[in-house]
């Protein structure tokens, strides 16, 4: 699947295979992994949950946004759900473009947009408790009730 939600471990090479093209000189991937320490607190494991049907649409939307902004770009994104242990892969984003600068920028755009508009949530489990994480809770406000595309290259 080129844009998908996966209950099984993600095969990174398969995601990359979706963006191979004869006129790409560069492929970048972003692989989000479960980190043990966040602000000194030790994570035991995570649970990812998705509103799957909408999440897939939003991943596809990010792909469309990227192809509109970066000429010749191809994109594939797969996000994992379920229980993930430390170092497990939560998300893989692959972007190919003719030239390398675009491949980095477009890939970065994809992960930032995932954190804005894709309905996926993580619940962190520590030794002393658990909590649903809402990263954007205090950082982002949505005056129009929904997140808008923003330029990351400012």
């Amino acid at each position: 699947m080129k844009f998908g939600i996966s209950k099984e471990p993600i095969n990174i090479q398969e995601v990359i295979d979706h963006v191979v093209q004869r006129n790409a000189g560069a492929i970048t991937t972003f692989i989000g992994t479960v980190r043990e320490l966040t602000k000194g607190k030790k994570t035991l494991f995570l649970i990812y949950e998705a509103y799957e049907s909408m999440a897939i649409k939003k991943l596809e939307q990010i792909g469309t946004e990227i192809r509109e902004r970066w000429q010749g770009a191809e994109v594939a994104i797969v996000h994992r759900v379920g229980k993930l242990d430390i170092t497990d892969v939560a998300v893989v984003i692959a972007v190919s473009t003719p030239h390398r600068a675009d491949a980095y920028e477009a890939n970065r755009y994809a992960i930032e947009r995932i954190k804005e508009i894709v309905p996926i949530w993580k619940k962190e489990h520590w030794e002393d408790g658990q909590e649903w994480i809402g990263d954007q809770l205090e950082k982002v406000s949505y005056p129009e009730g929904k997140p808008e595309a923003k330029h990351l290259d400012e």
Partner: protein
């Protein structure tokens, strides 16, 4: 009737993944406040709403059969 979906901490607070609610003709904001009061949700200020899998505005009006989802701040990636 309308299918109303809850995710993440909202699902935990409401206690179910979805409810059947008659919401035809109501605004998104009105339904949000109704659900907030009925289920004593801790916070809905930062919660977004989707109608049929697309983000909706607070003043959008719900139609018969629409699927409504309350979307807490996302934390994927």
């Amino acid at each position: 009737m309308n299918n109303v979906l809850f995710f993440a901490h909202l699902k935990d607070e409401v206690g179910v993944e979805s409810l059947q609610i008659e919401a035809k003709g109501k605004s998104v904001l009105a339904l949000k406040q109704e659900v907030h009061e009925t289920y004593g949700l801790s916070s809905i200020d930062s919660v977004m709403t989707a109608i049929n899998e697309e983000f909706a505005e607070d003043d959008d009006v719900i139609q018969e059969g629409d699927t409504i989802a309350f979307i807490p701040p996302v934390s994927g990636g």
